[in-house]
């Protein structure tokens, strides 16, 4: 990918630590995180539950302030949420009082874009998530997978610099999840989006990411970062046969070992 060749840095996390609670009862959630997110990357963060993956995402999104260290986006410190960093939550937080169309248009409307442009953007991204026919429906009329697709379209409609996803497919059944993984991979390849994706599913991480960040249990630290390219192979071949390759097993076993050591 051309974007990876350039390696233009987008977000820099410097020596970030996060503590919850008051001095005596405080727990250290994240410890000395250093990470760089480059433009066009698909980063998956893997780790045992409770390792602070979500806290890291919230720090990047601007929902919580790190206790020490900094999150820099294109050289500027992150100070509160804004539309350059779109967030997809585990449960789609669609607004039930709005139709699918209105949900997708919410971001561009908030930014006062011209009406015609809002309509174009909405149509493009609903198409992109294969929901062009569902625009007039209310969100509670949709299935879980469709809801999450609307949530993704709503975030993409703002053309954010980075899309932060917090176990977005965790609540979906296995078949829907596989479809969603293909969908998000296609969107990433076609739109050159930057994605920061949290999961606890090793296969999901390997099938989607071009960098897999493995974190330790609490306090969350980055143990190792793997550069992989199974996602590109899947995209080019259009099939998932790479998962039967030797090197896929090798990387998977290595990651599994790290995680199991953490749990024991």
């Amino acid at each position: 990918m051309t974007a990876q060749a350039k390696k233009e840095s987008l977000i820099k996390i410097n020596n970030l630590s996060l503590e919850y609670g008051e001095s005596i009862n405080s727990t250290l959630a994240l410890k000395k995180i250093d990470l760089e997110i480059n433009k066009g990357e698909f980063i998956c963060v893997l780790g045992p539950s409770g390792c602070g993956k979500s806290s890291l995402l919230k720090c990047i999104a601007g929902y919580i302030k790190p206790t020490s260290g900094r999150v820099l986006m294109q050289g500027e410190e992150v100070d509160g949420p804004d539309w350059h960093r779109g967030v997809v939550f585990q449960s789609p937080t669609l607004y039930p009082w709005m139709t699918v169309n209105e949900n997708v248009e919410f971001g561009p409307k908030m930014r006062d874009l011209p009406k015609a442009e809002i309509k174009d953007i909405r149509e493009y991204f609903l198409n992109e998530v294969n929901l062009s026919g569902a625009g007039e429906n209310y969100t509670f009329e949709l299935s879980g997978g469709m809801k999450q697709r609307v949530a993704i379209a709503r975030v993409l409609a703002n053309y954010p610099q980075v899309v932060l996803m917090d176990e977005p497919f965790g609540a979906l059944d296995a078949l829907t999840r596989e479809n969603m993984q293909n969908l998000i991979r296609n969107i990433w390849e076609e739109n050159n989006t930057t994605i920061f994706f949290i999961t606890h599913d090793v296969d999901e991480a390997l099938l989607l990411a071009n960098r897999v960040v493995v974190m330790s249990k609490q306090p969350g630290e980055i143990i190792e970062i793997f550069n992989v390219n199974f996602t590109n192979q899947i995209f080019e071949k259009g099939s998932k046969e790479v998962i039967y390759n030797e090197d896929y097993f090798e990387v998977k076993n290595e990651i599994m070992d790290i995680i199991h050591n953490q749990i024991d």
Partner: protein
């Protein structure tokens, strides 16, 4: 913005086929009462009237204290035709409802914004909450005497009384609605570029509507009770006054008519509110 970086035609075919396969169902209105339940309700009311009729027929109480259904019906027709004390029944009902609706209108238009702001900003809550908590448990009639002294015996004091009675339930419902708000709604809106004002008007307000409506229904109930009692304390018109005046002259059939009218109008108001709720908050339960 590059919208054209892909083969649009291919995508179009793809998606329309997909959309056709997705079964989107619009749910029909739920919790419709079954036939048996309806029959049971009708049966209950049938037996109440029957017992009433039998007791009056047996002559256990004098008709002056417990008038029979026929007598009450006649009184109703008489009042409908000639009014009470020469004043048509519509005037009495109108006087009562004017007090009620003026008070509710002002209660809604102040309690909703203040309640939502209190839930949203701790400093505003620090100012308002203790005052509301102090007067809320007081029976409205306890401070009604003061209001009469200050604002006179006519409509103003009654409207202020009803306003105070209706304000608290709506205010409290709004505060609790904001407290219970799914924080991810607010966060996602901010991440989509919404500013403080947009978050408040487009997210916090609609998300709180179900609880606000429950608060308004409670407020109507409280205000209606207070209305009747305040008219019994001091008034020269209104449905509550009619009942009190009738009791002074032992016209128990008129008392019955008054009470039945109050009950039915109360049910109608609540039904109207529930109808509005279903129309406005069609998404209730899906939050």
């Amino acid at each position: 913005m590059a919208l054209n970086n892909k083969n649009a035609e291919k995508q179009d075919n793809n998606s329309s086929a997909q959309a056709a396969n997705q079964n989107i169902s619009r749910k029909t209105a739920e919790n419709k009462k079954t036939k048996t339940e309806k029959a049971l309700t009708i049966l209950t009311w049938g037996s109440i009237f029957l017992i009433w009729y039998v007791i009056t027929r047996l002559g256990i109480f004098t008709p002056t204290l417990l008038p029979g259904p026929a007598r009450v019906w006649k009184a109703f027709l008489r009042i409908l035709e000639n009014g009470y004390n020469g004043v048509p029944i519509w005037v009495h009902l109108g006087a009562s409802f004017k007090r009620l609706f003026v008070a509710i209108f002002f209660a809604i238009s102040t309690a909703v914004p203040l309640g939502l702001l209190s839930g949203y900003f701790d400093k505003i809550e620090a100012v308002l909450d203790s005052v509301v908590e102090f007067y809320r448990p007081l029976p409205p009639l306890a401070y009604y005497t003061l209001l009469i002294l200050w604002f006179g015996i006519d409509d103003t004091s009654k409207q202020i009384l009803l306003f105070l009675a209706a304000f608290a339930p709506i205010y409290i419902a709004c505060v609790s609605a904001v407290r219970k708000l799914n924080q991810d709604f607010v966060l996602s809106a901010k991440s989509l570029g919404a500013n403080q004002k947009d978050v408040f008007l487009k997210i916090v307000l609609p998300a709180s509507l179900p609880e606000i409506f429950t608060g308004i229904r409670t407020a109507f109930g409280v205000a209606y009770t207070t209305l009747v009692s305040s008219e019994m304390v001091a008034a020269t018109s209104g449905i509550g006054w009619m009942v009190l005046d009738a009791s002074n002259f032992l016209k128990s059939d008129v008392i019955f008519v008054g009470i039945i009218i109050m009950g039915i109008t109360g049910v109608i108001i609540d039904a109207g509110l529930r109808f509005l709720e279903r129309k406005i908050i069609f998404w209730k339960g899906h939050i």
